[in-house]
């Protein structure tokens, strides 16, 4: 049992830290949920990629450093400790790319991954539909066979980043006669500027267009943009979803940095004793999340797949993040109402945590049934 990193890993940390110290913008970029901010964040992805810091865990051939899970965790710790910008490329990098590594063709990887790494192509996800929120098996958007490819018809929603992104990926019903609802789905990539695509940005609570509705009217997708076998999309997506809820969606580095900022805020307000317990709990929670992740990573590196404990992780970080931001706003007192601050923006972002990537209700059902073995029942 050992929590110390190898000298080589520590050297990697030092290298990352030095690069970040020299490159992280000294003033925050505009919100990435605005057109101006999106462009600034895309430029930052390009800057990261120029020195191979945008996708450290990928193979070198695609722009990465073959960094492995532990170095990825180290990089994330340094990244957020340096106060670096949010990652506008995250949908592609942490959701689509693992799917391509597992299920894509060599041709797809060579074509799709390098421009993803440089920020030249920013990806949106297109999972949800108006009638299929937590219940993904009830998707209704269609992919209809045509010569050399597929025609997409239907509607997607809650497509994060789609207001400004270039391309999207998602599941479409290619065989409406399949015997079960989660069969007959196909995993596709498509261009958000292709003919037939209408993107309607949706404002989140603060009005910023953090996601969009997609109306798809006979959008042509060539066969080369199908991932894996047609009709097998559900299984392919579930492996992506397991990643999404697993170790890589929210790195511990993010919360370690946030908790340190909260402590500084509390101290700057004179360290009021009435708020001390909540600040202490934020510090404890960040450390717990870090160490939980190191334990899970150690098991994973030992060959144990990430199982239903991914649901523990999802509930924990999403509630932690929200409570941390609520504590910050309470410390700010009446100033906490002002919306164009980092804390307020983080608060609005954190409000979505418990309800996306599988609502926390679904996650608790999974924990109870799959981890604890309680009997299934109607929910």
């Amino acid at each position: 049992m050992d929590l110390t990193h190898s000298p080589a890993d520590e050297a990697f940390r030092t290298e990352a830290r030095s690069w970040l110290a020299a490159h992280v913008p000294s003033t925050p970029l505009p919100s990435l949920e605005t057109g101006e901010g999106f462009a600034a964040h895309r430029a930052w992805e390009t800057e990261l990629a120029a020195d191979r810091w945008s996708v450290v865990s990928w193979p070198a051939g695609y722009g990465g450093r073959d960094a492995g899970l532990l170095r990825w965790l180290i990089f994330e710790e340094e990244y957020y400790a340096a106060g670096a910008p949010g990652r506008v490329g995250q949908n592609g990098i942490s959701l689509l790319a693992p799917t391509l590594f597992a299920h894509g063709t060599e041709e797809q990887r060579a074509r799709v991954l390098p421009p993803m790494a440089t920020g030249e192509v920013i990806w949106a996800q297109a999972w949800s539909e108006p009638e299929a929120g937590s219940d993904l098996a009830s998707l209704r958007s269609r992919a209809v066979r045509t010569r050399g490819g597929w025609l997409l018809k239907g509607q997607k929603t809650w497509s994060s980043r789609a207001a400004f992104a270039d391309r999207a990926f998602g599941l479409f019903r290619s065989d409406p006669d399949a015997p079960k609802p989660h069969q007959g789905l196909t995993y596709l990539m498509f261009d958000l500027r292709a003919p037939g695509v209408t993107v309607r940005p949706i404002g989140r609570l603060d009005g910023k267009p953090a996601f969009a509705e997609l109306f798809l009217d006979d959008v042509f997708v060539p066969d080369e943009d199908v991932i894996g076998e047609p009709g097998r999309g559900w299984r392919i997506a579930m492996s992506t979803a397991a990643d999404e809820r697993g170790l890589t969606l929210r790195s511990p580095g993010r919360y370690l940095a946030a908790a340190e900022r909260l402590l500084a805020l509390w101290q700057a307000h004179g360290g009021p004793a009435s708020m001390g317990d909540r600040v202490a709990d934020a510090l404890i929670g960040a450390r717990a999340y870090q160490l939980f992740t190191y334990a899970a990573a150690s098991r994973f590196l030992d060959g144990t797949p990430i199982g239903p404990e991914a649901s523990l992780n999802k509930v924990f970080w999403s509630e932690y993040d929200l409570v941390l931001h609520e504590t910050a706003l309470d410390l700010l007192g009446r100033e906490g109402e002002v919306a164009d601050t980092r804390w307020a923006e983080g608060y609005v972002f954190s409000l979505a945590g418990p309800l996306y990537a599988g609502t926390n209700e679904i996650q608790r059902d999974i924990i109870a049934e799959r981890l604890l073995g309680l009997p299934k029942g109607r929910r």
Binding site: G203, G336, A339
Partner: protein, 318 residues
Amino acid sequence: MRFLLTDEQRAFARSLDALLTAADTPSVARAWSAGEHTAGRALWSRIAGAGVFAPAVPEAYEGMGPLPVELAVAFVELGRHAVPGPVVETVLAAALLSGAPEHAARLLPPLVSGKAMATVGSAYALDGDTADVVLVLADGKVWLSPGCRPEVRPSLDPARRLAVPLPGGELLCPAVPPDAVGWARLATAAQALGVGLALLDRTVAYVGQRIQFGVPIGSFQAVKHRLADAAIALEFARPLLFGAALSMAPADIAAAKVAACEAAYATARTALQLHGAIGYTAEYDLSLWLTKARVLRGAWGTPAECRAAVLRGLRLHG
């Protein structure tokens, strides 16, 4: 001892409810958020005409006050309908001006009638970009400000526009009347309770019709229990509100504000969770109440300030 609203008070609430339902208040609030004040000012005149501000103004200045229970009744309805504008601040302005007789006769009657809209602030003044009367609390004194800078800072509640008062102005009172802030707190508590009740009602309706996994999500026990907890919190805040209105004791008002604001915010968290993504969008009306529930917690007395007032003053045996 009859701790129930009278028939007249209930009728007052119903008439406001009808007025605000007919007025399509959500679209008025959206326009207000965008800085388009025409519809909001029209609604303002109507709610003033219906008697929303009169309970806070003495009869000498064309009001009907002090009638804090009636004020609370009115502000629950304003919260239930997410009425935009400096409604609480106008009440506070009235309370402050009542302590400055040389100005009251001139400034108060237009507030009662709705011809003028007032705000009160310090670093920021809510909706100071459109208010006709801007009071500023600074150095423990009350000032009549020359107005606010035209640009506003955004609030987490888009319908609240935070304007920065211009420096200078006329000294109105050499000291803030101690009871005046109590009126603002009481009105805020009432508004918060109304916000929470609206969130509960809308969420109950939503989970009754939203189908997932083949059934209405309102049949899931986890959903039921969250809504039951919201109902408990709101229904125990309600008597605190009216008890405080009866006594107007600072600690009672503070207790009511803590309970109403915490209940409303907890209900907002539940409402958002049970609506899922659609609740997180600005275009869905729920957002009008969700965002207000958060910011009312801090308005005119943070939870910490109000709990401190409770510890100082709440005595349970008389």
